[in-house]
Symmetry: C2
C-alpha cells in the first residue's frame, strides 16, 4: 500500500506558524477496484462497493468507493505531508461531504486551506485550527470536502507556563484523530 | 473480520416508513490492537495509532484507534442492520466528532435516531433523512457522534411517476456513501 506519492519533506508547523488562508497540497494516491472492494468487505459491504457488475444496476451506475474509504485516503494524504502540523494531524471533529463518488482508477490529491485559528483560553500550550480540505480526482473534480477542527500545539517557547505540548493531558480526554 | 454481532434480520424501510425520533440499535464490534495498527498503517500512520509503547508518551497516553477507523466500524454496524434503509446506507455528507478515543478492547455499538425527514421536491422517488448515530464503547461512553444526511428511496407504489428508485440516476452525481 506504499501507494501515495509523498508531498515531500516539510517542516511541521505550530499554531503560531499557521495563518488564515495558508494553503497546502498533498501528494497523490491511486485507488483501484481491488482496494475499493477490500475496504468495502471490511467496513461497508454494500453492492455498489463490492461488485462492479451488480453496481451497474444501482444508483451509482458502476462501482464506487465507500465515502469512508475516500475519507481514510484523505487522512493518509494529510498525514504524509498534506497537512504539516507539529505533533500530528489530530482531529476533534469534522464536517464531510461527498459531492461525487470516487471511482476505480481515480488519482486523489488533497488541497487544504486554513480557515480559522483559535488559541485555547484554558490551555496555553495548544489551540484549534479549522481546515478545509478538498479531495480531488485526476480530472480536478471534487470528490470530498472535509472541514476539520484540529488540535494544534503552540510553539513551546511561547507557552506561558513553559510546558511542552506533550506534557499536557487534557486533549486525550476531549479529542482523538 | 467477521467480527460484528449482527443486529439481526430486519425489514428495510423506505422514507415513508421512517418517522422522526425513530430509534435503531446495531450489533456489536470488538476492536483490538492488531486491527488498530493495521488500519493506521494503511490510512493514518501516526505514532499514537501504530505503537502502544510510543503512544504512552503522546497526548493520548496510550494506543488509540484512528477516528476514521471508528467511523468505518460505525458504517459497518449501520450497514449490517443498525440502519435498515431500503436501497442501502447512502450518505451525501455528515458531521462527525470524537468526544473520546476508541481504545483496544473496546466493544462498539451504534444507537441511531431519526432527526428529520425531507421528501425531495424535484425527485418524487426519494428524499433525505438526517440521522444521529452515537457510537458507544462497552462502558456506554460515547466515542463518536455522527449526524448524517442519507439518501432514502420512497416506497415505489407511492411515486408519482411510478419509477422504482433504482431507475433514477441523479444521486450518482450528487452523493455517495
Amino acid at each position: 500500500m506504499a501507494n501515495s506519492n509523498l508531498a515531500g519533506p516539510t517542516k511541521t508547523l505550530y499554531l503560531d506558524e499557521l495563518h488564515v488562508r495558508q494553503r497546502f497540497t498533498s501528494g497523490t494516491y491511486l485507488i483501484d477496484e481491488e482496494q475499493i472492494k477490500a475496504f468495502a468487505k471490511q467496513f461497508d459491504p454494500q453492492p455498489f462497493h463490492l461488485d462492479a457488475e451488480v453496481a451497474k444496476g444501482t444508483l451509482f451506475e458502476g462501482l464506487v468507493a465507500s465515502g469512508w474509504h475516500t475519507a481514510a485516503i484523505t487522512m493518509r494524504l494529510l498525514v504524509e505531508g498534506g497537512m504539516p502540523i507539529a505533533g500530528g494531524v489530530i482531529g476533534a471533529g469534522a464536517e464531510v461531504s461527498w459531492p461525487r463518488p470516487t471511482r476505480p482508477g481515480a488519482v486523489l490529491r488533497v488541497e487544504s486551506e486554513v480557515l480559522e485559528l483559535r488559541p485555547s483560553r484554558s490551555r496555553p500550550d495548544r489551540g484549534r485550527a479549522t481546515i478545509r480540505s478538498e479531495t480531488r480526482n485526476q480530472l480536478g473534480e471534487i470528490v470530498q470536502v472535509l472541514v476539520a477542527n484540529l488540535v494544534v500545539p503552540r510553539r513551546p517557547d511561547l507557552n506561558q507556563d513553559g510546558n511542552a505540548p506533550k506534557n499536557a493531558n487534557s486533549a486525550a480526554e476531549s479529542s482523538t484523530t
